[in-house]
Structures are given as C-alpha cells and as structure tokens.
C-alpha cells in the first residue's frame, strides 16, 4: 500500500507517522485507523474474490445442464462463495473496517480501549482466513456442504470440512475480540460531554452489534467444535443412529447465525443513519427511536433462530412461537425506515454518491425485509423454503442492504482518510449500473423461487431457463458497475481532487478534526457540547 500523494506537509496525518517503516508500519500498528484500513483492504479482497465465484455460479446456471463446470465443482463453489462472503467479508466488514476507522473518532477517543488486542484480532482474522483458503486447496477437495455446514452431510462428506470449519472458528474468535473491544471502548473512552444521548447513531449500531458478537458467536464456536468432534472422534451427538439429533445442530447453528445477520445489517443501518441527515441538511428524525431500535433489533433478533427450521420437523409449538417473534423484529426495522424517510421530508437533499447509495439501501432493504416476512410466516414459508426465493431475499437484505451501505460508507468516509475524493459522475453511473443489474439478478431469483426452483441445485427444468438467463445477464451489469465503482473510487483516493476540512458538512466529531486525521485523532481532547446532528449548533451552514 503506498501513501497517497499528499502535497500538504504542514499537517501531520496518521499516514506520516514514522514509528516503523514499510509493511511493518501497517501489520504491527496498533493505530485504529491503520487497523481499520488493514481490515478494509482484507475484506475488500475477499469480497471481490467471492464476487468472482458468484459470477461463475451465475454463468453455470445461465442454461440448463452443464455450462462451464461439473456438479461437484458447483457444490464447492457455492460453499466457498457463501463462506467467504459471510465469514470473511460482511461479518468482519463493518465492525473491522469502518468500526475501527470511525468509531473512536466519533466518540472523541484517541484509540480503542485495547489497541494491541485490536491488532491481534486482525491477525486472528487473517490466520482464520488463511486456514479457510488452505482448506480449499488441500486434503480431499474443497468443502461442498454450503456455508451452513449442516449435519449429517457435513459429518460424513469426504471433503475438507474440518479444516474449513476450524478456520471459521478462528475468525469467530476474532469477531468476539472486536466485540469485547468495542463495548469497552464505548463505555469507557467517550470524550467529555459525549453522553449516551449524543452518541452518533453509527456508534449506537456498533454497540448493539458488538453485543451480538459477544453473546452469540460463542455458540457458533461450540457448534463448529462439535462438528469437528463428530468427524474426528465419532461423538455421534448429531447422529440419529447413535441417539443424537441432527436438529440440535440446526438449533445451535442458527442461535448464532440468525443474530449474525444482524451483525451484518445493524452497522449498515448505522451508516445510513449518518449519511441521510448530512445529505438532507437536517437533524435526524427520531434520534432516540433509531438508537433504541438498534438495541431492540439485536435483542429481538436473538430470539427468532427457529424460523430457519419450519420444514425441518421441529415441533408445531416452536414454529408458532418463532413465527410470532419473527414478526416482532419487523417493528424496530420499520421504525428505522420510517425515521429515515421522515428525516428526508423537507430536507435540503443533495444527491451525491453516498446519499444515492443510502437511498437505494432503503428501497432494497425494504424489499428484502418484506420478503423476509413471507419467509417468516410459517404457512407461506413452506412454499418457498429452500428455493431461489430465499437466495433472492437474502441478497436483497445483505447485498442490497449491507453491501450498498458498505459502498455508501466507502464514498462517504474513505476520502476523510485519504484527503482525496472520487469523481462524482462516474460514481453515479456505477451506482446506476449496479442498481439495475442488482434488481435484474435477484428479483429474477425470487420469481424463480416462487415458481419452485430449489436453491443450490446444479441443474433445472427448461421452464426456468429464461429467468435464469436474465439473472445471469443482470449479474454482468452488476459486476460492470462494481468494477467502475472500484476504479473510480480508488483512482480518486490516490489521485483525485483534494478533500480537506468538512466538505460534506457533517456534525459528528470525525469531521471536527483535520483531514486526514492525525495519529492522535485530535490536536486536543474534544469537549462535546452539541448533539451529533445539530448542524446549526455546530455552526455548519
């Protein structure tokens, strides 16, 4: 990674901090900004890899029968696509990259509570990732279980499941340490005057996320240990032939993995809550409710894991309870959407790239959320369970939601750290391509699912062909937009127009320090006297 060509030498920025040299200045740095960028480039690398795999999957499904790969390769590819996207991109993505970059700045702290632990958790993440990647190329072939590692298949398949699962375990440990670090930081290191009611909404969302990381991830840890034990020691805990119950695996797995989708979406909602008021030049509507709904989503989201198991043979009582609770989660989610829309009302809206991504987040996430209710209602779920509908729904929430928020955050916050900005017009064209491509790709999948096409199938009936072709063509548009976005953004960050001061006019603390920020974050310890969206009080026009 080279330094951006900053001609300004009068301001000391964290780029010029010369304690160590070369790569060591990065991979052994305990500065939260450098760790944030380490995370950012790591998750981005994995994201682009998994995007490539996703494109290959779509090409395979372009037409019935074999197109470019055999069935075993297909099984391995969708497994690896899922494992990388979930465990190496979107779960560590927001807390690791933008949480690290922004959160200490937003609360007026010099760093996180445990800087060395922070660096350690990045290392753990990279070690886990390396183990997962090793699992793909060694042993008896890459895992073919799907990212869910369901037993009994995962305990019997001859592929390299144990090693991959161990890698995921390590990555989970890294996620736990980030959560511990963030909760402690937010409790202990807020600047003077930064009361809980003045906490930026992104920080609130990270706080809720960190709690999910702390309380849910250990269950994933033990579940993965049990899968390894099942394979290595023959414990038989999930083997019905030996008295075990495979449904218990599903319970344990989803006790973590359902809350995990809130690790993916909550910080994204936090990003949207930052961008919308800034680009509407208006204090956020319903600050308290947005902050509260983050906690409510985290809490209610931990009670609904059973809605992944309606067709598994779980008891009817449990189906009823989990179905009801699933609908409860819709309430805080809707609170957020309504408050964002109310913030826009009579605002002075400026449609720059971060805002465009934020607005499309609201639309795409709403579609994802509402289709989620179709899956959450026990009766309608039976029809679409394990079909392409689920794949479409999931990508609407996590790609259209979290992914688009991630791109929004990239355009909104990265210039702050590079002191240079992307070009606006190509960014908007890239967004347009992605938005159109996205909807073609994933809406087709939802229709296919309604018509009965199962997910994770290598081949399909001829009547599904036209929509599959459309979906594949959509994926090319999406990829083209993504490519343009990346080229434009990184060209801009390294060679674009200078970006100094507070061009967006944000009232949160990260905009009160120099751009790029100094190593110590603030020249002098900030004292907070205004709320995070009090544009008038902060003196921003």
């Amino acid at each position: 990674m080279s330094l951006p060509d900053n001609s300004r030498t009068d301001i000391s920025s964290f780029w010029n901090d010369t304690g160590k040299t070369g790569i060591a200045a990065w991979i052994f740095s305990t500065d939260h900004k450098r760790i944030g960028l380490l995370y950012f480039y790591s998750v981005l690398g994995f994201f682009l890899t998994a995007v490539g795999l996703g494109l290959l999957l779509r090409i395979e499904l372009m037409a019935p029968g074999r197109t470019i790969m055999g069935p075993q390769t297909y099984n391995a590819l969708f497994t690896v696509h899922g494992v990388i996207m979930i465990f190496l991109f979107i779960i560590p993505g927001f807390p690791g990259a933008f949480g690290n970059l922004i959160m200490p700045l937003q609360i007026g702290a010099r760093d996180v509570a445990f800087p060395r632990l922070n660096l350690f958790s990045w290392w753990l993440y990279m070690i886990g990732a390396a183990i997962i990647l090793t699992a793909l190329f060694t042993g008896s072939g890459p895992p073919d279980t799907g990212w869910t590692f369901y037993v009994p298949f995962s305990s019997r398949t001859g592929t390299n499941v144990s090693l991959a699962v161990f890698g995921v375990f390590i990555v989970g440990f890294s996620s736990i340490l980030t959560g511990v670090n963030f909760v402690t930081t937010i409790h202990r290191l807020r600047a003077e005057g930064m009361t809980w009611r003045r906490l930026p909404l992104f920080v609130w969302s990270l706080y809720a996320t960190a709690w999910v990381q702390i309380l849910a991830t250990p269950i994933l840890g033990i579940t993965l240990v049990l899968v390894i034990a099942e394979r290595a020691l023959g414990t038989g805990l999930f083997d019905p032939g030996r008295g075990g119950d495979p449904l218990m695996f599903q319970h344990l797995f989803w006790i973590y993995s359902h809350p995990a989708v809130y690790i993916m979406i909550l910080p994204a909602m936090g990003v949207i809550s930052e961008i919308i008021p800034v680009f509407s030049r208006k204090p956020v509507f319903g600050y308290k409710m947005i902050a509260f709904s983050s906690l409510a989503i985290a809490a209610a989201g931990s009670l609904v894991w059973g809605h992944h198991m309606y067709t598994s043979g779980m008891s009817d009582t449990a189906i009823l309870v989990f179905s009801f609770l699933t609908f409860v989660v819709a309430i805080p989610s809707a609170i957020k959407v309504f408050n964002w829309v109310a913030t826009l009302y009579k605002g002075s809206i400026s449609l720059e790239a971060p805002m465009i991504f934020a607005l499309s987040f609201i639309l795409l996430f709403s579609i994802g959320g509402l289709t989620g209710l179709i899956l959450g209602a026990a009766a309608t779920d039976i029809h679409v369970h394990d079909t392409q509908f689920v794949v479409g729904h999931f990508h609407y929430t996590i790609f259209g939601g979290s992914g688009f928020a991630f791109f929004g955050a990239m355009h909104y916050w990265l210039p702050k750290f590079y002191g240079r900005k992307y070009a606006e017009k190509p960014a908007l064209i890239a967004w347009g391509l992605m938005f159109v491509g996205f909807n073609i790709t994933y809406f087709s999948m939802m229709v296919l699912g309604m018509k009965g096409m199962p997910r994770r199938y290598y081949d399909y009936l001829p009547e599904f062909a036209p929509l599959n072709l459309a979906s594949t063509i959509g994926s090319w548009l999406l990829a083209a937009g993504l490519l343009l976005l990346m080229v434009n953004l990184f060209r801009g960050l390294f060679r674009g127009e200078p970006f100094t001061g507070n061009p967006w006019g944000g009232a949160t603390l990260e905009w009160s320090t120099t751009t790029p920020p100094p190593t110590e974050n603030f020249e002098e310890e900030p004292v907070v006297t205004h709320g995070p969206y009090d544009f008038k009080g902060t003196g921003i026009p």
Binding site: H187, R188, L189, L215, I219, L247, M248, H251, I255, S302, L303, W305, G306, M309, G313, M314, S315, D316, T317, A318, V321, F322
Partner: protein, 95 residues
C-alpha cells in the same frame, strides 16, 4: 482516566469463610443427590450449584463490590443463555 475508586480489599478471613461455605454446600449437594427426590433432584442440585456460583461471583470475583453496570451486564448474559436453552425446549418438549 485512572482508577475510578479505591479498590475494595477482601480480607483473608472473609475469603476463607466463603471457601468453607462452598465446601459445606458441596457436601450438601452430594447428600441431596442420595435422597429419593425424583425429578426434583435435578432442580435441587441446580439450585445448590447456583448458590455456590453466586458466592464465587460475589466474593471471589468481587462482583459484590463492583458498580451496577457490571451486574446488569452479567444479568443480560445469563438471561441470554437462559433464553437460548429455554427457547430450544419449545421444540424439544412439544415435538
């Protein structure tokens, strides 16, 4: 920020008294397990275990002398675990 308040020092005598109580409760739990209580044996043993862990947390782990925040957080963590186990029984009990 340095330390918020002077640390509370728990005397050796108090710690030893807690230890003796814990040993007594261990004896009690062995004794109870020999009684013919049916299903109640499980709940009896769990109740004694909870009492013992309460003592360890309060005195050995200094929770009694910590602020309200930590106590609340501990409560939330235990409640979460209880919910994870309890909600699973919506399935297991009615299958």
């Amino acid at each position: 920020m340095t330390r918020d308040q002077e640390p509370h020092i728990v005397s050796f005598a108090k710690l030893t008294a807690v230890w003796l109580t814990l040993l007594a409760l261990t004896g009690l739990t062995v004794w109870v397990s020999r009684l013919d209580l049916g299903v109640n044996r499980v709940w009896g043993a769990l109740a004694i275990a909870m009492l013992k862990s309460g003592l360890v947390i309060a005195f050995f782990m200094h929770m009694k002398y910590e602020g309200r925040l930590l106590r609340w957080l501990l409560f939330v963590a235990l409640l979460t675990l209880a919910i994870f186990i309890g909600f699973t029984f919506f399935d297991v009990l009615y299958r």
